[in-house]
């Protein structure tokens, strides 16, 4: 397993595109917090501070696409052939990708958290306020955001292994977040809709702390972990069976 993991790290270290994708997370967090303040957010309101920190969880959309590239990107460039020639036991390849991409997703979440704290500290100071770092809520939100970044990277790895086509998998993921989950939620009602993956990630990253329609944070985390496990298992099973032509 160590050789598989080292190989995945080398693959990541020798190309640029995944890093640009991961860098987009902190960038969107800074832009989002700037937007929140510019839009009249009151820096003396603790709830506004919570909403600022919740941007970290929303940045998980980038770790999702990052995860999709792990397997689907290899099919796109044809490097999957060399990968399976190196490691005929394909399940271990996917397992190594889950480990590496999951950790990289969590690391991206940590960087986004640091960016959120720095951006918020700068804006709060500029508006004559002060960040309440002692507020437990801030840390809970950031921790949930990091977990969401990790879970979405794992879901992306599984989804990319299932779909194998980068454009198809990314389109499906974005359409799900922007459109499909909302419509599906209306069809099945709010009681069931909160179990859907994006709603679970909102609960985990506390994107809408006041919303009663969401699961509790820990519940959202468990549900998202369940989705990650299902996607990863399905991705492994399909990868084991499929011919590489």
């Amino acid at each position: 397993m160590l050789t598989q993991i080292r190989t995945e790290l080398r693959k990541l270290a020798t190309v640029r595109s995944p890093w640009l994708l991961l860098a987009a997370g902190p960038a969107i967090v800074v832009a989002g917090i700037t937007g929140l303040v510019s839009d009249g957010g009151n820096v003396h309101d603790p709830a506004v501070q919570g909403r600022a920190m919740a941007h970290v969880g929303l940045a998980a959309v980038f770790t999702l696409i990052f995860g999709i590239l792990a397997v689907a990107g290899e099919y796109r460039h044809g490097t999957i052939t060399d990968t399976f020639l190196s490691f005929p036991r394909r399940g271990r390849v996917i397992a190594a990708k889950l480990a590496v991409y999951g950790l990289a997703g969590a690391a991206a979440g940590l960087v986004s958290s640091a960016a959120a704290l720095a951006a918020a500290a700068a804006w709060w100071a500029a508006r004559g306020g002060a960040l309440q770092l002692s507020a437990a809520d801030t840390w809970r939100t950031l921790a949930g955001g990091v977990a969401a970044n990790c879970a979405f990277a794992l879901i992306g790895v599984g989804l990319g292994a299932l779909v194998r086509n980068v454009a198809g998998a990314v389109a499906l993921a974005l359409a799900w977040i922007a459109l499909i989950e909302g419509i599906a939620g209306q069809l099945i009602g709010p009681g069931l809709a909160r179990w859907l993956p994006f709603s679970a990630s909102e609960a985990l990253g506390r994107a809408a702390i006041t919303a009663t329609r969401l699961l509790p944070q820990w519940g959202g985390g468990l549900v998202l972990l369940g989705y990650a496990a299902v996607f990863a298992a399905a991705g492994v099973l399909v990868t084991l069976r499929r011919d590489v032509t």
Partner: protein, 235 residues
Amino acid sequence: MTEIEVRGLTKTFGAVTAVRDMSFTAPDGKITGFLGPNGSGKTTTLRVALGLVRPSAGEVLIGGVPYRRLAQPRRRVGALLETAGFHPGRRARDHLRVLASPAGVPDHRVDEVLGLVDLGSSGNRRVREFSLGIRQRLGLAAALLGDPQVLLLDEPANGLDPGGIAWLRALLRSLAGEGRTIVVASHVLSEVAQTADQVVIVTAGELRFAGPLRELGGSGGALESAFLKLTAVAG
């Protein structure tokens, strides 16, 4: 023992039978030319041999073992496949470094094989800058990385210019001279006539001939006429 045995191999993709009950042996330490028209099942056979495609029936053994059961397959078997690709943004040396740790070879072996395929000065260039012929050389470098006893090469002359083809012929000859078992799938008959000891001819997924090249007359022209006769649609 590194002979390659194809035993009763059948592979169907949906309703299409790509390979039908094929059996032959590529002997130890020889160059075997694997010939057939486009779509005759050569690539599918090689992909089964490499564990990329699961056979519908039969098996392919390398030194008595299926590829999937080899412990460090890159040290035993080197492969060049048409569909094997490169990340366009990765440097040539990095492409090989990614393959070096699973092959269990140190990183300085990467520079050795780059030199072996005449890419010693291009290691720091990104693959997107490479022509088809240069990519083919990089693919060969990858196949040679683990210093394998067995080489499976699918259309290795693809994209090479005449100088490159002459270079490839010399390379294959010197690799075979070291006692390696080499299978070259190709439809360029004149190339095979100049390099192979053995030939296997297939058409429509079925074996038509397997044996020493001299049994088909030896020269390029004789091989061509034998090939056309053997691969002609019956009736």
